[in-house]
Each structure stands twice: as C-alpha cells, then as structure tokens.
C-alpha cells in the first residue's frame, strides 16, 4: 500500500536515515511534499496547514524502528490521521421506526441532489419503506420532470404542485403524506448558491416547516478550495446532519471532503458514484484517504474490472482456459473488456507504485488497436486454429489490418507464448473466476 507516496517521502527523508527519531528538522522536506499532495487533491489551504501541524505533532519524537523506513512510518501516520479525520464518527440515517420520517437534500447547483434523492429512494424502498419524493425545486427548468422520470423507473410516487412555491409544496406534501399513509418523505430542494440570501432564507424556512429527521448536504467530489465557504454557510443556515459525496466515479481526488469535514464536523454518510440508480454506497474513510493521497486505488480497479466483466462470458472463458482452448477470438474479447475499462494509462495509474515508475514512459493505447486489427483480419477458422497461419495467410492479414508482416508475426508469437502459459496455469487449476473473486485486497 502507498508505495508511490512512500517513495516520494523516502527521497525527502534521506536525511533521517541513520538518525534515531523523527525531528522537526529532518522531516520538514517530507512535510512539504505532503502539503503539495493535499493541495493538489483540493484540500483547502488552511485545512492542509492544520493537518500538517497535526501530523507533525504525532510524528515528532517517534522512534524510527529498524524494520520500517522513515517514509513508511510517516505514511502510516498520515494515512491513519486522514482516516480518523474523515470518518471516525460513522452514523446511520435517523429513520423513525413508526410515524413519518423526513429526509432532505440540500446543496449547490449541479451537485447531484436529484439523482441522489432517486438513489436514496430506491435504497429505502428495498427496506420496505413507503416513500414519497417531494419535488421542492420549483426553479430549475424541468427539475420536477427529472425527479418524476427517475421516480417512475423505481416505482415511487412524486409530490409536486402547480405553483412555483417551494414552501407551499412542502406544506402540502406533509399533509398529503399523512392522508396517504406514506412513512418516508424525501425532499429534493433547489440548488442554490450560499451567497444568495433569498434562497438561503427559503431553505431555512423549508427546514422550519418540515423539521426533517436528516438534512444531507450534497457536494460534488470535484469541488475545489471554495468547498469550505459553501459548506460553512449551509451548515450555519440549516445545521445539516451529514454529507453526501457525489461523482466519485470520476478521477477527482476528493480533498474537498476533508475540507468540509474539518470545517463543519459532520459525518460523510453516503458516496454516490455513477448515474445508475443503485450506485449509492456507504462511505469508506480508508478508500477516500488513499484517494486523497493520490495512491493507487486498487479497489476501484477491481470494481472497473467487474463492470467490464460479463458473468456468462467469464464462465465460458474459464471453461476454455481449463481445456486449454483459448483462441484468438477469446483474446479479442479480452481486449474489448480491457478497453471498456478505460485507457491503459488510467488503469496503470490505479496500480499502487506504478504511477511514478511509468510516468515518463508513453503508454500506447494504439498497441491494443493494432492487435485488434490483426485479429479482425483473420478468418474465423484462423482465429480458432492459429496453427494454419502460414506465410501467405500472414501476408494477407498484414495487408488487411494495415500492419506489417513483422507485426503479425510478433503478435502470433506472443499469443502462442501466452497460450503455453495458460496451459501451465490451467493445468494446475490456478486461474479461475472463483479464484479471481476470492482475491483479497485488504
């Protein structure tokens, strides 16, 4: 874990080697490095500064024991501290066992409130709650329509009124819910800027009318330095209960989460990553901590691999591998799976320790394209039985795929080596879908 960061710190920490303990002087370079990493991850300037101070305090005087390097020691201190700051107080949603439970999403424009409301509704519906989604965003064009379409997909009712009046909407919704025996209300409110006095007054009024069990502040994981300002004002206005971090399926490092946690001290309750309605997860502080530190995100890599993997295809492949019948057609399918996962460079970036090592080397995604083209130029018979690939056939394939005969030869040679390898592994029953599944990444 964290080879990349450890490596950087190791360089900065050369001075410490041979010294018995960490001192302010001998760790200052590595602290500067950490600061840069945090700022690049969008951790707020002041928050980063405080964090460094905390880490320094913890690190100072720590004895450097023989078995681990100073770099590893500091990395561990930083990681542990980040995990504590991000999520030492995990808590569940406050759902009333009886009577009506009210939940409300608030936040800036475009943070993903409506999508989150849909996801939350789906999740709670699975817990047998009778849910009513309330369309309290009366401003953004088609916001109500968006909520209705989401709700329709998951079979949930939406409450809205004709007039563009959010206060009235929530009042009527409460009445309606009581009459119709709904037990859970989710209020989707309009996105608003924290500096918009009128709109902030509205959200305060809505809170007053509804007095929700939970108010969730929905924030985009890509948010920059300004996250502290908006979170602070929202917290002062509605005193929200938890944070929802959205769009984590991108590659943002998510430092804003640390900033917000530090400024308002509220727990991060959900991570919303993806546009599919079931991509809502509980928050894992350790995952986010490694993300902020710019570490390889092995878990995401595995998840990406799973996305690209088709269960049935995998079983078929397993069968073929066992019988050592892996042919060019299967190879082509594998290439397509890999391509679905993203560019090679982005995948390699997720592998801990790989990022820095290959930084200066160009990863050529076109290599895969070439291989694909070559296989596509083969007849089905050739794909199944590579042995028949004589000189003439190879020449034809090179012409058809716009490559050289050398390219074709090289590719076929690599493939036959791979086949041999697979023969060895599958002979021992080593590579199978179940063994892939059982890989433990912790």
């Amino acid at each position: 874990m964290f080879e990349d960061l450890s490596l950087k710190l190791e360089t900065a920490l050369k001075k410490v080697r041979g010294q018995g303990r960490l001192t302010e002087k001998n760790i200052s370079d590595s602290l500067r490095e950490i600061r840069r990493i945090l700022l690049d991850a969008d951790v707020n300037y002041k928050v980063a500064k405080e964090f460094i101070e905390r880490v320094t305090e913890k690190a100072l005087g720590k004895e450097v024991i023989a078995s681990i390097s100073p770099g590893q020691l500091i990395t561990k201190i930083i990681f542990d501290e980040l995990v504590v700051l991000l999520g030492s107080d995990r808590s569940e949603l406050k759902i009333n066992a009886s009577g009506i439970t009210t939940l409300m999403a608030v936040g800036l424009q475009g943070s993903g409130k409506t999508t989150f409301c849909g996801k939350l509704a789906k999740r709670l519906k699975e817990n047998k709650r009778k849910i009513l989604l309330v369309a309290a965003d009366v401003y953004r064009p088609a916001a109500i329509e968006q909520l209705k379409q989401l709700a329709e997909k998951i079979g949930i009712s939406v409450f809205s009124i004709e007039q563009p009046d959010a206060r009235k909407t929530v009042k009527e919704a409460l009445k309606f819910a009581a009459q119709q025996n709904f037990d859970t209300l989710i209020f989707d409110t309009a996105g608003r800027l924290h500096v918009d006095g009128e709109m902030m007054k509205e959200i305060a009024d809505i809170k007053e009318i509804v007095s929700p069990n939970e108010i969730l502040f929905v924030v985009d994981a890509m948010t920059g330095q300004d996250a502290v300002n908006s979170a602070k004002t929202f917290n002062e206005t509605v005193d929200f209960d938890g944070i929802v971090l959205t769009k984590l399926d991108g590659d943002a490092r998510g430092g804003a989460a640390l900033s917000i946690r530090s400024v308002v001290g509220k727990p991060i309750k959900f991570v919303s990553n993806g546009e599919k309605l079931d991509s809502l997860e509980v928050f894992h502080p350790d995952r986010l901590a490694s993300r902020i530190l710019g570490k390889g995100d092995v878990i995401s890599l595995v998840e990406k691999a799973q996305q690209g993997f088709d269960e049935k295809e995998a079983e078929l492949l397993e069968e073929k591998l066992k019988k050592n019948k892996f042919d060019f057609d299967d190879f082509l399918k594998q290439i397509k799976v890999i391509k679905k996962m993203g560019s090679l460079s982005s995948l390699i970036g997720m592998i801990p320790g790989m990022n820095s090592q290959i930084q200066n080397e160009q990863i050529d995604d076109r290599a895969l394209v070439k291989v694909e083209a070559i296989i596509n130029s083969m007849t089905l018979k050739e794909r199944e039985n590579p042995k028949i690939l004589n000189g003439n056939r190879r020449k034809r394939i090179a012409r058809g795929s716009g490559t050289s005969i050398q390219d074709v030869n090289r590719m076929i040679k690599q493939f036959s080596q791979m086949q041999k390898m697979i023969g060895k592994i599958s002979g021992k029953g080593g590579l199978s879908k179940s063994s892939l599944k059982n890989l433990n990444f912790n």
């Binding site: 401003y139 329509e145 920059g224 546009e275």
Partner: protein, 313 residues
Amino acid sequence: MKLFDNIDLEKLKKGLTKTRTKLFNSVTEVFTGKIKIDDETLEKLEEILISADIGYELVEKIVENVRVKLKSEKDRSNISIINTIKDELTQIFVTEKSNEEKIDKKPYVILIVGVNGVGKTTTIGKLAYNFKRSGAKVIVGAADTFRAAASEQLNIWAERASADLIHKQSGADPSSVAFDTIKKAIDEKYDVAMIDTAGRLHSKTNLMSELDKIKRAINKVLPGAPHDTYLILDATVGQNALIQAKEFIKVTDITGLVITKLDGTAKGGSVFQICNAQKIPIKYIGVGERIDDLQKFDSTSFVEAIFGNEKIK
C-alpha cells in the same frame, strides 16, 4: 455580425464582486504599508492564490517570479506588487486576434460538452438568447438523451430564447439527434445550430467515444462542422478541471472554454493553469441563472475585476 453588444463591464464586475473584494482585500491587507517582501508576505500571497484554485504548481511559479522581479525593481509599493501579479496572471490567457464573434459559416455549428452538472444546458439557453438578440436564426439539438428530463429542460430554455429545438425520446441515439439538427439547420437556413450533449465524466471511456461519434455525425452532414466545440467548466471545481480539459481535448478539439457559476464565492482559478497548459481561449463566463447572465470573456477586465484597480489609491 455583432454579437454580445449587451455586455457591459459593470455587470461583469458586479458578477465578480465577491471574488474581487475577497482577493483585493487580502492583497491589500498583505501589502499595504509593507515594503519589505519577506517570506511571511509571500506565504500570504501563496495562500490567496491557492485559495482561488489557481493550483500549487502555478502559484509556486508566480510567487517565485514575484520574488525575483521585486528584488530587481526599486518600487515596492503595493501598486507595483499587485501589477506584477496581475501581469503574471494576464499573460497566461490566450489573446484572441479579434474580440468579435466570427459567425462566418451558415449554419454555424457549436457543440457543447462537459462533465455532469456544470451548466451545459443553461449555457446553451443563454447563448441561444444572445444569438437571437443579434438577429440570428437559432436551432438547438437535445443530444442529451440520457439524463432524465434533460430535453425538457433544454426545451424550456429554447422557448425562453425563442430558438427552435430538435429532440427525440429518452434513450435515443445522441448522434442521430445531432444529425437531424444540423440537417434541419441546413435545409431551413438557420444561422446557428448548437448541440447539447449529456454530462459525462472524462474518465468514462465509452461515453467519451460516444462524443467522438456525435462529432462524426455532425461532420458527415456538414463537412467542417462543428465549427466550435465549447467545454463548459464549473468555477467551483478545483484541480480536477485540468484533467477534464486534458481528456476532453483528446477526443474533441476544444476551441473555447466557458466558465460557469462565477456568481458565487468560487474563483475559478483553475482556468489559469488550463490556459497555461492548453492555450485555449475562454469565451464566456456565466454569472447567474437568468437568461442574460452570460458575459463575453475578456482577459483584461477579468483580471482587472479580480484585483479591482479602481480601489487602489
């Protein structure tokens, strides 16, 4: 064609007031009465710039340049310090030859792209309004067939701007929407056609290649189009904006940037790094939710508005 003549500097300044006041106050707070440039002052300068999302690497460079320049210059009053920083920042922006929008093709096709929630549809609505105001015949295509109610949202904006709309049912092929829009634009002699696309995270390969497909569909019906591809960036987004720009450029030849949500306290400083690395001009800035809250970007007034020259005495 003279476009965007409705823009006045005052409104731009007003839109950036919070930004300016904050930065300006911080800068004067640092420099007034301080002649000596010590490390503490430079650190404070660093804080101001980093807090504006300008990014560690570039800030380090700026601070270093300031340090070197001020060492050699005699006048170390606050004005010269602010001017030095301002110069550093202004130099980063790409200077465009002409400030006039050149609508030299008919129809002039603009493709709008960006990640989720940055304000693409809103920006199209505002652009359509501005083009309409200048007398152009405008059509918009709702190629976001993915997000719930996206085409309904665009429809409302199109109505507000009195522009025409092409849309299909949810889940339809976005390229076919783009194709039909451009086809209609050619057949019925529209001046401007704009294509709204679904928000897509730049890390999703399949969605990014869909964008390429849309582009090819447009090009097929009108060779040379799209004539402009604008990447919409959210001012509240931090360093990820750089990666967004980089990845979108890879698939779509971005010709211009639009920075939205500058009416909040976020400063959108990540554009400095983007412009520094990618040399792409910023075309417009969004400063509110009203249909006329779109301003033509002007580097001088942008930086002027940030530092508020008029307040220096």
